[in-house]
């Protein structure tokens, strides 16, 4: 939250697990005075249609995020490591189960 914010309540980011077996997915944010309220608000706002089986609510100001300016140092180095991908390896078609 910016120091000049007029809001009485901090911002929370909300993540919902749509069903068992899936990751939690970021769905948006909301404002709440405390963690308990954030969970209830998340339930009322983001699962009105039976969308979730689990909710995380995280205060936005506690999230550590990579900066877009550092995109290249962060992500480019993994781009050329083609040997991490299964398609890099030539296996004859007639070898089973690989």
């Amino acid at each position: 939250m910016s120091p000049t914010s007029k809001a009485e309540w901090p911002l929370y980011e909300v993540f919902v697990r749509g069903k068992r077996g899936l990751n939690h997915v970021h769905v948006g944010s909301l404002r709440a005075a405390d963690d308990d309220m954030a969970l209830l608000h998340a339930r009322d706002l983001y699962t009105r249609r039976n969308e979730g089986v689990s909710i995380w609510a995280v205060r936005s100001d506690t999230i550590a995020a990579s900066a877009p300016d550092e995109k290249d140092p962060f992500f480019a180095p993994s781009g050329d490591k083609v040997y991490r991908h299964p398609t890099f390896y030539d296996i004859p078609d007639d070898v089973p189960h690989i």
Binding site: V25, R31, M37, L40, D44
Partner: protein
């Protein structure tokens, strides 16, 4: 690719959207079973249905007036739950009393003296503190009743009660959390909570002595004891108890009469006049 394709098939897959809705009465025989007094059953469904409808109407009055947008959603969810309970209970009442009336006959074409809700539900909306306090009392009490009714001898009522239990547990949580926030928050909020509790105290006895659901398994003394105990704990957390007595609210100013007998405050008639205005202005219309 059109826009429509993109949002339906592309981005759409990223979201968890609601799937499938369950009918709480699916596969349940609607016949009133032998051994269940149909008159008792009808009276119980009507009373609990009226409590729910009148409460939902009061919550709907908050629409566009809530103290924060997130609370618009919360209040509407609770109102919708109660409205849903009323509809199921009216449908059951219509079957049990032999009239075959649908839900709208009960909601729109009865006069105030025919309503059987407790008076606490019909008191005017008041401020947010009053809404929280009233919802706390009503949801704690109704939850105790519905938990008992979940094993009622009538399977339809039992199913409605079992569905309601899940909803009411959430209402109780919402109201209890807010009671603690307002009781502990600022001097103003604590004063408003205390004023709200004082205002509803005289109406509490009607609730705690209610025997509407007694013959279907909700024993009044047990329901009352549990309601008192739960209220005591929440109010203790909120710093709002006046004494260490487990009877947290002063009910000595108890007001005689009961909404269960059709004796209402002057506040019910205008509430119903609004609720019924369009339906009664066009009695032959279909909606």
């Amino acid at each position: 690719m059109t826009d429509e394709d993109l949002y339906v098939d592309g981005d759409g897959a990223r979201w968890a959207f609601g799937t499938g809705f369950t009918d709480p009465l699916h596969g349940i025989d609607q016949t009133v079973p032998d051994g269940v007094d149909a008159e008792d059953l009808a009276a119980c469904c009507l009373a609990l249905g009226d409590d729910a409808l009148v409460s939902a109407q009061r919550l709907a009055e908050w629409c566009t007036r809530a103290p924060e947008l997130e609370e618009e959603l919360a209040l509407a969810n609770i109102g919708l739950d109660l409205l849903g309970q009323a509809r199921l209970l009216y449908a059951r009442a219509g079957r049990a009393d032999g009239t075959g009336h649908g839900e709208d006959a009960y909601a729109y074409f009865r006069d105030p003296e025919d309503f059987r809700n407790i008076r606490l539900a019909e008191l005017p909306g008041g401020d947010f503190a009053f809404t929280v306090a009233r919802l706390l009392v009503l949801s704690v009490w109704r939850l105790a009743v519905c938990e008992a009714l979940a094993t009622a001898p009538d399977p339809v009522l039992a199913a409605i009660a079992a569905k309601s239990v899940k909803e009411l547990a959430y209402h109780r949580r919402w109201a209890a959390e807010w009671t603690v926030r307002l009781g502990d928050g600022t001097e103003e909020s604590a004063a408003r909570m205390r004023a709200a509790l004082d205002e509803l105290a005289p109406w509490l006895d009607e609730l705690l002595s209610d025997s509407t659901a007694a013959r279907l398994g909700a024993e009044p003394a047990a329901v009352a004891a549990r309601t008192r105990l739960e209220l005591f704990h929440v109010l203790a957390d909120a710093g709002l108890n006046r004494s260490t007595d487990v009877s947290p609210l002063d009910t000595s100013a108890f007001l005689p009469g009961s909404g269960r007998n059709g004796q209402h405050t002057p506040h019910l008639a205008p509430l119903l006049a609004e609720l019924q205005s369009v339906a009664r202005a066009h009695p032959d219309a279909s909606w």
